[in-house]
């Protein structure tokens, strides 16, 4: 494991989760320190998304612990986890198509008890990051382009002023140029606001370049970890996820 300073913001110890009889996580250990970007890479069905969803309380962990800021959140209901200001942008964006951009963003703030002032300042922050959303403010979510929808999904997650932002495949189905914009925005968030980010990606090259540290997941287990650049150098990573398995 990495040489982690003090206590990490999120600490996962031998976490197991399953869908019925199929075990998706077979004892995962993972740390996320405050202020860092952590990338979780791996092939389809490795359990990356499951790990993210288990952190968020659904599916429930079978065994193991998840600690957020020193507090055990294993088995805490999803809506209570959201109140601790962990936010996620789910796989496939999942914005609300018939609701306007403004309403979509407000939905992000609804789960936490946000005051009007909080909402206004979060909204400003989102618009500063994604000016495109401001232009589209009255438009229905479903009329946005794929990239704009991804911006909306991230913006929506940011509305709850998260301490930990979890992004599931933010570059999925996006043109390389748009994907780069999204990654740039994540980097900006991290540098300017010190936002802690867990990013789940199949686009290993981009994700590892962006991240401070990375974890590689295979069949429900973490097989490798290290800094982003370290992992990028590893021949087995290059072989499995970059040269051969690279998407786009």
């Amino acid at each position: 494991m990495s040489a982690s300073p003090a206590t990490p913001l999120l600490a996962i110890r031998s976490l197991r989760a399953a869908y019925g009889k199929i075990e998706a996580l077979k004892g995962v250990d993972l740390d996320i320190n405050a202020g860092e970007i952590v990338a979780l890479i791996g092939a389809n069905g490795a359990g990356k998304s499951t790990l993210m969803m288990t952190i968020f309380g659904r599916p429930r962990a079978r065994s193991g612990t998840i600690e957020f800021d020193g507090q055990d959140i294993t088995g805490v209901p999803t809506h209570d986890i959201a109140r601790l200001r962990i936010a996620q942008s789910p796989e496939g964006r999942r914005i609300f198509p018939r609701m306007s951009v403004a309403e979509n963003l407000q939905m992000g703030a609804d789960a936490t008890d946000s005051s009007e002032a909080d909402r206004a300042s979060s909204l400003e922050r989102v618009f500063a990051l994604f000016p495109r959303l401001k232009e589209r403010i009255t438009q229905r979510g479903g009329t946005l382009s794929g990239g704009e929808q991804q911006m909306l999904a991230i913006g929506r997650a940011l509305m709850s002023r998260p301490r930990l932002l979890m992004l599931d495949e933010p570059s999925l189905g996006l043109a390389p140029l748009i994907a780069r914009q999204i990654f740039d925005a994540i980097r900006t968030l991290n540098r300017q606001d010190g936002l802690t980010v867990l990013i789940v990606e199949q686009n290993a090259n981009h994700a590892l370049k962006l991240a401070h540290r990375g974890y590689v997941m295979v069949n429900g287990l973490i097989t490798l970890s290290g800094t982003g650049s370290e992992l990028l150098q590893r021949p087995e990573i290059r072989a499995a996820y970059l040269e051969g398995g690279r998407r786009e």
Binding site: H79, P90, R94, A102, A111, Q149
Partner: protein, 439 residues
């Protein structure tokens, strides 16, 4: 009539396509009707089977289907679905949008004046009360189906709970209408939550089946629990509502005597009219307020994408339960009103037919649109009365009108969803342009 989605491949299918389709429809009609209409059977005087053929009627029927199918297809091309872009002159467009904005206030003012204008027409007043009852039921169900997207086929159960709550409390304990009204609402809301719990994990078709069964269970309990509900005999002698304790009766302590005016039974009808109007407006007001609050927004988000709601940390359990409870509460209010208006209730008033009718109003109105639901209730209940002169063809004409309306406006009368968060100016974007369901 079968309707393959061939229209999607080509915008305007040719004559051959229309002809072929009409031929298929006619063939289906021939098979179906050959026994239903072609052969007439009856029991003879000694109980033996007598039958004779009616090939003329059969031929007429098949020809009608053939011709109807062609007309139908032509009409479809004529109007086209809402998605087609048509060039409308700006002047007409602005007039239409003005009319659109004015229709609600005009309708409201007119409704307020109905008892004044039609004071001497008892029939219209009664019809108005009936329409308003369904407007209220529609608005109540709209919370569950239109906003939260939970398909509820047993809404009549809450209507029944409200009606029986008032009827039993009033006849057994002598409580007044105004005390029982909130109680009926609370009891109905309680039953709404009770229904909500087992169906939390269900969606779509499965939810519809359970709610349908729930509606039937309530009706069957009312029918069979004779000692409490009176069974099929129902509850009689339900007291009429009073104005702050003053009855609207012909007696010396009645309102007419106190005011020193001549008594007329119309007073009570007008009074009832304004009660249901007030109740309906309350329903509307509460719904509009709730839509702007996080809970109302959560209902709509739930309709759009339940998984996304969970990902945002929305508590879907409470969101669903509050939707069921709120919708049920309004159903309960309407039920209490129904009981006091009728003075007599029995399980026969709470069949599945009522649920279907209210659901049709919501769907026809455009799920989630308050004005649309009101217009649909007016069209459904009022229109049904309008066609009364057609006797046995009433259902046929009415059904055809509904089919045509759904072709013309597949999203209901008012399919446009008004946003609830406003920032400076609004851009009107037709909901028809929005891709459905995919994120």
């Amino acid at each position: 009539m079968s309707a393959p989605p061939a229209a999607q491949t080509s915008r305007a299918p040719g004559a051959a396509f229309i002809f072929k389709k009409a031929l298929i429809s006619a063939l289906v009609a021939l098979v179906l009707f050959s026994l239903m209409i072609g052969v007439r059977t009856e029991a003879g005087p000694q109980g033996q089977l007598i039958y004779w053929t009616r090939f003329g009627d059969l031929a007429a029927m098949v020809a009608t289907v053939f011709g109807g199918s062609i007309v139908f297809e032509l009409l479809r091309q004529w109007w086209g679905p809402v998605g087609t872009i048509r060039v409308v002159p700006p002047a007409v467009q602005s007039t239409l949008s003005l009319a659109g904005r004015l229709i609600a206030p005009v309708l409201l003012v007119f409704t307020f004046l109905v008892p004044v204008i039609f004071y001497n027409e008892r029939y219209i007043l009664d019809l108005g009360i009936l329409v308003l009852t369904y407007v209220m039921l529609g608005w109540g169900l709209n919370v569950v189906v239109g906003l939260a997207g939970l398909l509820d086929l047993g809404y009549v159960a809450f209507y029944a709970v409200g009606a029986y709550s008032y009827a039993l409390l009033a006849t057994n304990f002598g409580l007044s209408f105004w005390i029982c009204l909130p109680l009926a609402g609370i009891l109905a809301a309680f039953w709404g939550v009770l229904l909500g719990f087992p169906v939390l994990r269900l969606r779509g078709d499965y939810l519809a089946i359970v709610t349908l069964a729930f509606g039937e269970i309530i009706r069957l309990v009312l029918l069979n629990w004779q000692s409490v509900t009176g069974g099929p005999n129902g509850v009689t002698g339900i007291p009429r509502p009073t104005l702050f304790g003053i009855p609207l009766s012909a007696g010396d302590d009645g309102l007419a005597a106190i005011l020193g005016i001549e008594y007329s039974p119309t007073h009570r009808i007008v009074f009832l009219f304004y009660i249901i109007l007030a109740l309906a407006l309350l329903t509307n007001w509460v719904t509009i307020r709730l839509r702007r609050l996080p809970i109302g927004r959560a209902w709509e988000a739930l309709r759009e994408d339940e998984v996304a709601c969970r990902a945002l940390g929305i508590n879907t359990t409470t969101t669903k339960l509050t939707a069921f409870a709120t919708g049920a509460m309004f159903g309960g209010f309407a039920g209490a009103f129904f009981a006091t208006r009728q003075g007599f209730i029995s399980p026969e008033s709470f069949t599945f037919h009522e649920s279907a009718l209210v659901l049709a109003i919501v769907v026809l109105g455009g799920m989630g649109s308050q004005l649309g639901v009101a217009l649909a209730a007016l069209a459904m209940i009022g229109g049904f009365e309008l066609f009364r002169g057609l006797d046995q063809y009433r259902m046929l004409v009415f059904g055809m009108a509904m089919v045509l309306l759904m072709i013309w406006r597949p999203r209901g009368l008012i399919g446009h969803r008004a946003p609830t968060v406003f920032l400076k100016h609004n851009q009107a974007i037709s909901s028809d342009l929005v891709k459905e369901g995919h994120g």
